[in-house]
């Protein structure tokens, strides 16, 4: 029985790969939508409720959730899909977001989410066509890259409009930072969710939907959504993003001494101009690209026109890839970065983690921790383009040194020892994105407290610090610790709330909470106010905290690598900056207090009660 509420499709598809059983649940029977809305809320609730604690992320018991939100597949500008599971990189809850058109297609097929359990005996792919679910043999797709996998499945099913989420060789080979790819250039990149798919012997999920998305009050919804689109297009930040994508951030982070360079040794890169948005616009980009129903088109399709890699086509290069594959590996040639980017997309690797892992290996080589005879004959030097390309292949195929590096920075450094953990740039196992924590106390706190480990998409307090003003107007010093806990909590709660819809990070800057709530209410008939909407975010944040504590997260894990405290930034605008341990301790204890958590970071009973999570408190450890 389907419910008649708009925005939602009303059903959740539940697939067990072990015994090839397919179930369909009424969404409202599985979850209280008023408490969790959808997207991240839906995925975290299902994982909390159904995932057996402390399992190996690669065991058949791990659960993979593809969750849409009530605004996915509507006219709301910029909506995406949430994919979640227990991460093989962190051992914690991991939610990663993916643009493109896959999320919308889930809605058109008539579902709010797809839950995938168990493990198939042989490599398979799933083909979901409205009500039908087919388990298709994928032997012939084994080892294929994501581009070819997508092309083959579309050809096999004789339908160009099928949407496909698939893994490359990296996912099949259980590389701990393997991504899930759609439409060639869009990935749920972080946390190794592609390896979870690989561990289930699931090569791809292909989907085709022909059903409409219903709206509770279509007239109001369309009016508000069009007004929102207009607002988005008038926004100055969006205007820059439409033209230059995320790449525009690079010269900014370089100028303000925030750009990770050579494994976070430095925070400015001498070749930043050569890999900047301005260079890419002049020499590389040929066309804008957008996700479903998004007017921002921050994606850019580029073609390498000269040199060794001429003919390479890739969407990007996104800021994070420029920062981590580029500056952080000492690579200042955009043609090489474009090729490396394309390789990562095709082979199935997260560019942020890959850039970190390679930069870390380079520094270990420099320090003699990885010896020449252990390096497969490669010169592991910063800036060596051949090494970069070879290592990407080796990691994805788990060949030679690549097999060792495929474990991620945390595990590599634990195995290497010799104090390499001091410059192993991760938090809780997730490699850091493109913002040097030494140059931003707020970012340090954001990394340490992010629910999935070292992550920039839960809170990004940088702009407040650089402007020198907190959201409430208080003047703050860029390198002080005041107000950081407050800012980070506010941003995290909002991010979690928006991730229920699932609203894109880049559109959120131009759309206020009132508009999102208006669209949510008009689409679904729900009656949210802004405060209640943000409370959903706080509720989810606490639920994920409980999940991670159940998985044995300790207060001691909420730390940064030693480099952040010891090695001051050598040059640039943030020269001599480093973080003091007592600064982090101060911010963290203030953060726990403001969150309503005890001194060990465990939510208090009162906080859980206030959020309607008291039913979960008896399951707490």
């Amino acid at each position: 029985m389907k419910m008649s509420r708009g925005g939602y499709s009303g059903e959740i598809l539940d697939i067990d790969l072990t015994d090839r059983k397919v179930k369909k649940h009424n969404t409202t029977e599985l979850i209280d939508l008023n408490l969790f809305i959808g997207g991240k809320g839906l995925a975290s609730y299902i994982l909390w409720k159904e995932l057996k604690p402390k399992i190996n992320p690669y065991s058949p018991e791990n659960i993979l959730v593809f969750a849409t939100g009530p605004l996915t597949g509507t006219l709301c500008p910029g909506t995406r899909m949430c994919i979640a599971a227990k991460s093989p990189l962190t051992g914690l809850f991991c939610d990663s977001y993916i643009g493109g058109h896959f999320g919308a297609e889930i809605k058109f097929a008539g579902y709010d989410a797809i839950i995938i359990r168990g493990k198939s005996e042989n490599l398979v792919y799933l083909y979901v066509s409205d009500d039908d679910v087919e388990f298709c043999d994928a032997k012939h797709l084994a080892g294929l890259d994501t581009f070819k996998t997508e092309d083959r499945i579309r050809r096999e099913k004789e339908d160009k409009s099928i949407r496909i989420a698939c893994i490359g060789p990296a996912g099949e080979n259980l590389v701990r930072f393997a991504h899930i790819n759609t439409e060639r250039y869009r990935q749920a990149g972080r946390g190794g969710l592609g390896a979870v798919m690989g561990s289930k012997n699931l090569k791809a999920v292909a989907i085709k939907g022909t059903k409409p998305v219903e709206l509770y009050d279509a007239e109001s919804f369309v009016r508000i959504a069009k007004e929102t689109i207009r607002k988005v297009l008038e926004n100055e930040t969006v205007k820059a993003r439409r033209r230059w994508g995320t790449a525009r951030v690079l010269l900014y982070t370089n100028d303000i001494g925030l750009l990770p360079t050579r494994n976070f040794k430095e925070a400015t890169f001498e070749k930043a101009e050569e890999i900047s948005a301005e260079t890419l616009e002049k020499k590389f980009w040929v066309k804008h690209k957008a996700c479903h129903s998004c007017p921002v088109n921050c994606g850019k399709l580029g073609v390498v026109k000269t040199g060794k890699y001429a003919g390479t086509v890739v969407e990007g290069i996104e800021y994070e890839t420029l920062a981590l594959i580029g500056a952080n590996c000492g690579i200042g040639d955009y043609e090489v970065i474009a090729y490396a980017n394309m390789l990562c997309d095709a082979l199935g690797l997260d560019t942020i983690s890959t850039g970190n892992v390679i930069a870390f290996a380079m520094e270990c080589f420099e320090k003699g921790i990885i010896k020449k005879h252990e390096a497969d004959g490669l010169e592991l030097k910063f800036g060596n383009t051949e090494t970069l390309i070879q290592l990407i292949r080796k990691i994805a195929l788990r060949e030679g040194l690549g097999d060792f590096l495929a474990e991620g920075v945390k595990k590599i450094s634990e195995k290497l020892g010799k104090e390499s953990e001091k410059f192993a740039m991760h938090v809780k196992g997730l490699e850091l994105p493109g913002y040097d924590p030494r140059a931003s106390p707020g970012m340090s706190l954001a990394y340490v407290t992010a629910d999935r480990g070292g992550c920039h998409t839960r809170s990004w307090p940088v702009s407040y610090e650089v402007k020198g003003k907190a959201p409430d107007g208080t003047v703050i010093d860029r390198f002080s610790v005041e107000k950081r806990a407050e800012i980070v909590i506010m941003q995290q709660n909002r991010a979690a709330a928006c991730d229920t819809l699932v609203a894109c990070w880049f559109v959120r800057t131009a759309v206020n909470d009132e508009l999102y709530v208006k669209m949510l209410n008009a689409a679904t008939g729900m009656q949210f106010g802004v405060e209640e909407f943000l409370r959903v975010g706080e509720r989810i944040w606490n639920l994920v905290r409980m999940f991670n504590l159940r998985e044995s997260l300790q207060k001691e894990d909420e730390r940064l690598p030693e480099r952040v405290f010891v090695d001051a930034i050598p040059s640039g605008m943030t020269k001599d900056q480093r973080l003091e341990k007592k600064q982090l301790a101060y911010m963290l204890s203030e953060y726990y207090m403001l969150r309503g958590w005890n001194e060990n970071g465990v939510p208090n009973e009162e906080k859980l009660k206030e959020l309607g999570l008291e039913v979960f408190s008896n399951r707490r450890q």
Binding site: T74, K148, P212, V213, V286, H288, K289, L301, V303
Partner: protein
Amino acid sequence: MTRAVIVDYKLCSGCRLCEIACSLEKEKNISPVNSRIKVYQIPPGLDIPILCVQCDRAPCINSCPQKAIEKDKETNAVIIHENECIGCGLCVNACPANAIFLTSEKKAVKCDLCGGEPKCVEICPTNALSYVNVPFDTRVFAKKPEEIAEELCELLGTANRGE
């Protein structure tokens, strides 16, 4: 003179807002599968919107055994009279652009320019779509997505077409 929706394929970002706007106008819901304009995603990253170009010498008109297709006198749009359509699909095959399709109720449908105010053009955020007067037979614009992709690849310098 024929007024038609003309596409600048380089500018299409593939957001498919046009499909949503079209289905909202024609079906009163969000169902891109029923949209009269369809954006095809073709490797290695091209987005090709296909909709009727309102040919002067329209092959679909001649193909219809029911004489259910004609040019609208006011807008010059090629119109299918739904009541007379028997769902034989001959017009679908006759169209040089793949711009006509059968609905699940076996009725042929296509773009009718929304009576002269095409909603896809109105919502397009990249100006890839424009509604213009064309002083020659618009049939020259009628091409299948693969043909357009071929030309666009050449224009953008993307020789690598995938499989």
